[in-house]
């Protein structure tokens, strides 16, 4: 019979072996994160998928109804508007953040006095809590007493009458896109700057010697090199932008006339405003194929790029 001390030695040796072998160490180190993801991400996701196929209402049971929720959604007027709004919002915000980010990174890549302070200041919109920054924007654009209109109309006399920032459907969407860009541009700019600064100076000098203009050198040399990082940034931002909730929720509540209703807001309103939990879950599920397609396409592009290299 083994003594307790020899048993301890055996257990100790077993644990040591687990940590020593690469084949077991990896899974051990990954397991806390994996368990966290299962509990906090996979379970709610799977449960949301399940709910989207049920008639679950607040306080009631969840009965399986197949595709009925999706059928209802496609005949529900605000859903159609939400799809169009979400696409418009995501495409415009992303395109402008992308172009603005590249421009910003190019400017910041050149040395100038106070560059460090500019970089730090530039990050402010990104690090500021969204609730706080949106409240400031609400104050700037609020109908009835808009600080922006007071400056533009009463102080500077640039316009003769107030601009309908949150009153007019197109202005409201443009305001939302503008604030999203203001908030997201620093992330694009700083990430692109880091990528640009990682490009070898020798390669750029070689391009210059070969007669490439700065414009051509950027698009033919720098951009292809930073493309994988650009793809990742665009991908992350696409997911964040298409699922944006706090900005429309706090600024416009989806109005006027559902003109700024986005996927997450509609899902929230159906779930918490109307108690239709199954239908609300179905809205988020309709985002899923679109996002999956985007992610797969981006990954394929990055992989092809790596293979070509």
């Amino acid at each position: 019979m083994a003594s307790p001390s020899s048993q301890n030695r055996t257990t100790g040796a077993f644990v040591s072996r687990l940590f020593y072998r690469e084949s077991t160490l990896g899974p051990i180190l990954l397991s806390p994160g994996f368990i966290f993801l299962i509990v906090m991400m996979a379970y709610p996701f799977v449960y949301a998928v399940y709910l989207s196929f049920t008639d679950k209402e607040s306080g009631g049971p969840a009965n399986f109804t197949g595709l009925e929720n999706f059928q209802k959604l496609f005949s529900y007027g605000p859903y159609g508007r939400t799809v169009i709004n979400s696409i418009v919002y995501t495409v415009f915000a992303l395109a402008l953040k992308f172009l603005g980010g590249l421009g910003l990174a190019s400017i910041l890549n050149r040395p100038f006095v106070g560059q460090r302070y500019v970089k730090a200041l530039m990050l402010l919109p990104w690090i500021m809590p969204t609730v706080f920054s949106t409240m400031i924007w609400q104050w700037i654009l609020a109908p009835g007493f808009s600080v922006a209109n007071i400056i533009l109309v009463e102080k500077l006399h640039i316009f003769s009458e107030n601009l309908p920032f949150l009153r007019d459907e197109r202005f409201a969407m443009a305001s939302l896109i503008g604030i999203n860009i203001w908030r997201g541009l620093p992330f694009f700019g700083i990430t692109f700057l880091a990528a640009i600064q990682g490009v070898s100076v020798e390669i750029l000098e070689a391009a210059k010697i070969d007669g490439a203009s700065p414009w051509v050198a950027f698009w033919r040399v720098t951009f292809p090199i930073i493309q994988p990082i650009v793809m990742v940034v665009v991908l992350i931002s696409t997911i964040g932008t298409i699922g944006d909730f706090d900005l429309p929720f706090l600024l416009t509540r989806g109005g006027p006339n559902d003109a700024t209703s986005l996927f997450s807001l509609l899902s929230y309103q159906l779930t918490f405003g109307s108690g239709r939990i199954g239908l609300g879950a179905a809205v988020t599920m309709t985002m899923f194929p679109l996002l999956t397609a985007l992610i797969v396409a981006s990954l394929i592009m990055v992989r092809r790029r790596q293979q070509n290299d």
């Binding site: 607040s58 306080g59 007027g77 609020a142 109908p143 109005g255 006027p256 006339n257 108690g275």
Partner: protein, 445 residues
């Protein structure tokens, strides 16, 4: 000689029996006794140890009200041995309530102003409480019964009603030649045209951003022209020449007298615009006047309140009714405690303090309060007493508030219709848009 008194077995059993009966009777008496509020007798044993979790919004427009609730809860909780926890949530209340409904945790009593019909399945029967309070106060006004009784039972108890008064700049109206507030909508339009020309437009909250004002101001106009959302049988009555007349009027009103931004106001926008001197009229409770007394004395001095003007169908006030309900997953002693707590806090002697603190912000729904000393002493708020029997909640033409009607309020369908009319200049198109919205909402009702 020591004599030991012998106790026979029969005597012992008799004595034990009497003690048991006495103890049982005491317990029964305690259980049967009503829970006592502050100043009453001590609370029954049955409530001791119960916990009430209260969930609702903070009274952000009039913070003086929360301490009244807290003070009563503290005294009542101590006297009855009940723990009362308050969670006040502003932006995310709906989500917290749904979570409480689904999990059965986090809330027993909820306070909301949205129609309780929307939560009907999840609310406990509080008929005994509501009927007792109704008997005490002379019977609920129709608005209270309409909002909180689903036709078969009371699903909530009305806390009171917010009434929308005409808040107007009396000084500017006088400058324009009006010693009295216009009595009807036609005269109001004439006055508004003059005042807008003088740089003082009206700000009538329409649109789909203001959950409070936006569920009152549009109805004052709609009903005055004879428009209604429902027929008593539940069918939609909005598609009428009266609704079109109201929309037609608002198109003129907006163009000739209104602030262009009035169709995008949120609940705070008209307050700010009024206090900043941007508008000369708006429909609001007293939350423009009270802060103005402290922060904008010139505005407070120059303003006054009036009843809404008459239209072809008469004079209508609009109200929303905050209520307290008990989630039906509350059971046992906690349910008894929640009912007893509402019963005691809503008793006239206690709720009067709440109404008094509001100075007309929240008005009663029981007629007996008419003679109670709850009414504001400030003559500029005397309107409150005139309004409290006049106002009706959205959907009032129905027998009881329905889920469809409450969803129409959540989505601000009527306000949105008025805003669409003002934007397009086409009443028919705006009405068709509202009918389409209602048809969409039927999917959810």
């Amino acid at each position: 000689m020591n004599q030991t008194k012998r106790v026979s077995r029969r005597k012992l059993l008799k004595a034990a029996g009497l003690v048991a009966i006495g103890a049982g009777a005491t317990t029964l008496a305690a259980c049967a006794a009503p829970a006592a509020g502050p100043g009453g007798s001590s609370g029954p044993v049955v409530l001791k140890g119960a916990t009430i979790n209260w969930l609702g919004g903070a009274w952000s427009f009039l913070p003086e009200l929360d301490p009244v609730i807290d003070a009563f809860a503290k005294d009542w909780g101590t006297q009855n041995g009940v723990t009362i926890n308050f969670t006040r949530e502003s932006t995310n209340l709906g989500a917290k309530i749904q979570t409480a409904i689904e999990t059965g945790q986090g809330a027993n009593i909820i306070q909301l102003a949205d129609a309780p019909a929307q939560y009907g399945k999840s609310l406990a029967d509080v008929s005994t409480v509501a009927e007792a309070l109704s008997a005490e106060g002379g019977g609920y006004l129709p608005a209270g019964t309409f909002q909180c009784n689903d036709g078969s039972r009371w699903i909530a108890v009305p806390l009171g009603q917010h009434n929308w008064f005409m808040n107007y700049r009396q000084d500017w109206f006088k400058e324009a030649g009006y010693d009295k507030f216009p009595d009807n909508f036609d005269d109001l339009l004439v006055a508004g045209t003059k005042l807008k020309a003088a740089g003082h437009p009206f700000g009538w909250t329409m649109g789909d951003k203001a959950g409070g004002d936006g569920n009152a101001a549009p109805y004052i106009m709609l009903w005055a022209f004879g428009g209604k959302e429902f027929n008593p049988d539940g069918s939609i009555a909005l598609d009428s020449k009266e609704t079109l007349a109201a929309l037609d009027y608002f198109i003129k009103f907006h163009k000739q007298a209104g602030d262009p931004d009035e169709i995008a106001y949120d609940d705070g926008a008209n307050n700010t615009a009024f206090n900043q001197g941007k508008i000369s009229l708006t429909a609001n409770v007293n939350t423009i006047y009270l802060p103005a007394k402290k922060n904008f004395p010139a505005v407070a001095e120059g303003m006054n309140h009036a009843v809404p003007p008459k239209g072809p169908a008469g004079r209508f006030g609009a109200c929303t009714l905050p209520w307290w309900g008990i989630l039906n997953k509350t059971t046992g002693a906690n349910l008894d405690a929640a009912k007893a707590y509402i019963r005691d806090f809503f008793a006239i002697k206690n709720l009067s303090k709440f109404y008094q603190a509001g100075q007309g912000y929240i008005l009663p729904v029981l007629p007996k309060y008419e003679t109670e000393p709850i009414w504001p002493s400030d003559p500029k708020l005397a309107i409150a007493k005139e309004m409290f029997k006049l106002a009706l909640p959205a959907g009032y033409n129905l027998k009881n508030q329905s889920k469809l009607s409450s969803l129409m309020q959540t989505k601000l369908v009527v306000g949105k219709m008025f805003a669409a009319a003002a934007t397009s200049g086409d009443p028919r198109k705006a009405l068709d848009g509202a009918l389409k919205d209602i048809s969409d909402l039927k999917v959810l009702a």
